[in-house]
């Protein structure tokens, strides 16, 4: 092999460039680790504290009274699932519709600007305030706490995230794709729903998952709405247990075995959220063709 003929000055510059490159790459890797570290740390700590209290009974039993050994959070796990289902049924359709309006039909209009502003403000409303609002809007007229009102609170909290990510993702769809659909003689509304939204679907799903995962761990909006329940309930018009609520109550209690159950509950909550998000990702990515994104 012939050696490269470079004047010394060039060699030096090349070495500096290589060094800068290495430094920048190193910084990027370090930042990535800093981002991942807290999550991993939390997870490891949860496993350390909670795994030992996990048993089959944890997933099948309802809580036992103080002093009795055992008991589980089956009702809270089911309750969380019901609350999140109701919340998603409210938050996802409303949020996606709002996002479609912002990006496709109302672009540049006063109404769209007002909606966007409202969504941003809603996103900043503390969750406890959302709980109180739903308390006075749903719980007071109904006369009792209910799973339904808890779902409404979670649903409203999902709307702004879903709405704004849907808008952002739709705006990223190239105009050429819209034009292609229109030039085929497809009516605009149909082109939006079948082409533009479909093209942006993986991003929109990510937005929905983000909103879902965020409200799955919410406690505050449920205190005045779902209220919690020590026994089984799967009815929408009765108070219902939820994992975050149960963790909250157990963690604040003076009993050691309740503390341990709270740790286990936190671990289960995190694992279930990760499972739910992964499941949706898996199911939705199977149908969509490779090379789409």
């Amino acid at each position: 092999m012939e050696e490269h003929i470079l004047p010394t000055e060039h060699k030096l510059k090349a070495r500096i460039r290589t060094l800068t490159d290495g430094l920048a790459t190193g910084l990027a890797v370090l930042s990535t680790l800093l981002v991942v570290a807290p999550l991993v740390a939390i997870f490891i700590y949860l496993v350390y504290k909670g795994a030992s209290s996990l048993s089959w009974a944890f997933f099948t039993d309802v809580p036992k009274p103080v002093g009795e050994a055992g008991g589980g959070m089956a009702n809270a796990i089911a309750g969380s699932a019901i609350l999140l289902a109701v919340g998603s049924l409210i938050g996802i359709p409303v949020g996606i519709s709002g996002g479609i309006f912002l990006a496709e039909f109302g672009r540049g209009t006063k109404l769209a600007n007002a909606v966007r502003f409202t969504a941003d403000v809603l996103n900043g409303v503390p969750s406890i305030v959302m709980g109180i609002a739903v308390y006075s809007l749903v719980v007071v007229p109904q006369g009792h706490f209910s799973a339904f009102s808890g779902g409404v609170a979670l649903g409203i909290m999902m709307i702004p995230t879903v709405c704004r990510t849907t808008e952002e993702m739709l705006l990223m769809v190239p105009n050429a794709v819209r034009e292609a659909a229109l030039a085929l003689g497809v009516p605009n509304w149909r082109s939006v729903l079948a082409i533009t939204v479909r093209t942006a679907s993986s991003g929109i799903i990510t937005g929905c998952m983000l909103a879902f995962a965020r409200v799955a761990g919410e406690t505050a909006p449920l205190i005045f709405t779902a209220f919690g329940n020590v026994g089984w309930s799967s009815r929408l018009d009765e108070p219902i247990a939820a994992l975050p609520l149960q963790i909250y109550v157990y963690a604040l209690s003076p009993y050691d075995d309740w503390h341990r159950l709270a740790w286990a509950g936190a671990l289960v909550l995190i694992v279930l959220i990760v499972l739910a998000v992964s499941l949706v990702r898996y199911v939705t990515s199977r149908g969509v063709l490779k090379g789409a994104s």
């Binding site: 050429a176 034009e179 292609a180 030039a183 085929l184 149909r190 093209t199 063709l289 789409a292």
Partner: protein, 252 residues
């Protein structure tokens, strides 16, 4: 079968910019008509007025008459109907990225409520054969995404997609300008074959291309049509000094 296009006093604006001024011409049925001219001369705007795509831009405006066959497209029909009869192929290939090859071709029909499976299969096959893509993709119709094809294949896919809705006119806005020479010559062969079934209007930057594919050629300059004549006359013996300057490479 293709139909003729008659354009009378067509004017178009983008905001206050008067991009097309008093265009009059007759585009013959089942022929290829090329539109040439420097960038920004209005030739793209002109073809977008022929399928009412121009007005999808909120600041755009059009006056004048365009008759396609015996249909006055600005008087007798809505834009959606027009676009089903007047297909369009764009400068950059724009397949629907999340759809398979099959779904890309069937999109125009499916989205208009057409659902007869067997008929769709036939139309997809016929359209892909017409666009000379069938042999390259027939084994992976439903497996492969339209976006995974090469640029030249994507453009032929877009042509198949336009043909599937069975238009009478095919507008092509610089269909080969983003493609390599081999793909370009495939597209040109295709244009040559398609003119027996469709009236084709092609915008091009490439004068050799106009000379190769078109029977008639129009020369646009600064929003006006300077000259419209048989292609060989435009390239050998133009009537207007500006046309001669352009084709001999003195400007543009």
């Amino acid at each position: 079968m293709g139909v003729g296009i008659e354009v009378i006093n067509l004017n178009a604006w983008y905001g206050t910019n008067h991009t097309l001024q008093d265009i009059n011409l007759n585009i013959p049925a089942n022929h290829v008509t090329a539109l040439i001219g420097p960038s920004g001369c209005g030739k793209s705007t002109f073809v977008r007025c022929l399928n009412r795509m121009h007005e999808t831009n909120p600041i755009a405006r059009v006056t004048g008459t365009v008759r396609i066959g015996d249909l006055d497209i600005y008087e007798d029909a809505n834009p959606v109907e027009i676009r089903r009869r007047v297909g369009m192929v764009f400068q950059r290939p724009n397949p629907f990225p999340t759809m398979s090859i099959y779904d890309n071709v069937a999109a125009g029909l499916k989205l208009n409520g057409y659902s007869n499976r067997r008929a769709l299969d036939e139309i997809v096959e016929k359209s892909l054969k017409n666009s000379a893509l069938w042999d390259e993709v027939k084994d992976e119709l439903k497996k492969k995404s339209g976006a995974s094809l090469s640029g030249g294949q994507q453009q032929r896919l877009c042509i198949a997609r336009a043909l599937a809705v069975d238009p009478e006119v095919l507008l092509m806005d610089e269909p080969a300008s983003a493609l390599d020479p081999v793909s370009t010559s495939k597209i040109e062969d295709l244009i040559f074959q398609l003119k027996s079934q469709y009236t084709i209007v092609i915008v091009t930057h490439n004068m050799q291309q106009a000379a190769r594919v078109a029977e008639k050629t129009g020369f646009f300059l600064n929003g006006r049509m300077v000259e419209f004549d048989l292609t060989h006359k435009i390239f050998t013996n133009p009537s207007d000094k500006r046309t001669e300057d352009y084709i001999t490479g003195r400007f543009g």
